[in-house]
Amino acid sequence: MTGTAQATLARVAREGRGRAVAILSRRLGDIDRAEDALQDALAAAAERWPRDGVPANPEAWILATARNRAIDRIRRERTRTASERARARVTPDVEEALDDIDDHAPIPDERLGLIFACCHPALSPEARVPLTLRLVAGMEQPEVARALLLPEATVAQRLVRAKRKIRDAGIPIAEPSAERLPERLDAVLTVVYLIYTEGHTATGGDALRRDDVAGEALRLGGVLHALMPDEAEVAGLLALMTLHHARRAARTDDAGGLVLLADQDRSLWDRDAIAAGGDLVARALRMARPAGPYALQAAIAAVHAEAPSAAETDWAQIVLLYDALLRRRPSPVVALNRAVAVAEVAGPRAGLDAVEEIARGGALARYAPLHAARADLLRRLGDDAAARAAYAAAAALTTNPAERAFLAARA
């Protein structure tokens, strides 16, 4: 295959995949059929493009070819036995539904409906992330397995089951109606943020962070924001991920070890991304009052990112933002983060008191950051023995090797 044809095909297969699967599966009512048709079209392109040249609109060519292959398959299936037809659920309107795809018109972006299907609460939570990565982000199945540090067979099984449920239970491949949007959007944002956090602090493997996985979540967030520009929490989540991602280069040292926020070389931070993230936060905060949890977390990240040095961080502002976040979404983890900020404003004793109160609640007994925060505050108060014990407890509880090495070194 010639270089251009190959490169174009690889790009379309990856970037155009989500759009094509969305369009085809909504019309076919079946994601498997949509994927099969798309696979057929990609194979046809691999054969013809090097010979006949790359078409003017490669994505539209793929989509039109996929449509034709889908119709061919459906016609073949019609000739089968009645019971096979019943299982395949071929309806005459499928052909009609496919008729509006033509190879010259601009391709509509219907990915939003596909995202809502992939993140539907009627699917098991562990299926939603691989499904979104595969269908919307267009990652190959082995890539999904690597990204999630799961065996390929596990990923394959989850994808098969989830796609079958979407088809047989009638999970719509469409955006929810306005009145159902808020409760459904939450599930979508959770999936995208889960993908991001897996990239930000990997739960397994050797590295602290995996930028490819985090980058995929950012792309998904960008798609959501482009498709729903008026949803404040979508903007908030994109801002949050953008601001965290902007600091990624400073989060690890040359050996891959963890560097705390206070010790990071701020010249390594991506200033353009921080400015973009800051604009998004401002927009998110203007869009909804009271501000939602993602917008508030993004605002906290913005205060950190915009401080010229760790010493110049506006901790008082951060405590206020955590107060607002606690009102919006009370959780012991948020309370812990607030306690750390309180220590910066009111001193380590006040911070430690707040941490001990959360520890007494018991919900975070096995949460490494609680022990790490306790350890740090004890060290600052000069109680070295207690601090070392707390560092050891934190090291024993974290699953990330870079984090464990960092904590164990202080124990």
Partner: protein
């Protein structure tokens, strides 16, 4: 698509209902069935006698075995069902959430397998 909405609840709460409780329950279900009939999605539905009236049938090696009661010991029992016709799961869930028992017990939404 047709969906069966299976209503589960703790039937011991209903062993000795007061007339007021009974009337309120009947009115709530009447309201549900009136609304879903008006929307054109209701295809049927029944309330069931309690599980103490149930008999379970099994045939093993050609031999009939009858046992008293339902198969499983669970806190929630099947108490009734509605059959609705909806385009998507979201619409079936929207119907199910309006069933009074959804607020105290649970409602399982199962698509009906359709044959040509």
């Amino acid at each position: 698509m047709r969906y069966l909405l299976l209503i589960y609840g703790d039937e011991t709460l209903w062993t000795d209902p007061t007339p007021e409780q009974m009337a309120a329950e009947m009115a709530a279900h009447q309201a549900f069935s009136d609304a879903t009939t008006a929307e054109g999605i209701l295809r049927g539905g029944e309330a069931l006698q309690p599980t103490t009236t149930a008999t379970t049938v099994r045939v093993r090696d050609g031999e009939l075995m009858l046992t008293d009661g339902p198969f499983a010991e669970t806190r929630e029992q099947l108490g009734g069902f509605y059959l609705v016709e909806c385009d998507t799961l979201d619409e079936a869930v929207a119907a199910a959430r309006r069933i009074p028992e959804a607020a105290v017990g649970s409602v399982e939404v199962r698509p009906v397998m359709e044959f040509d």
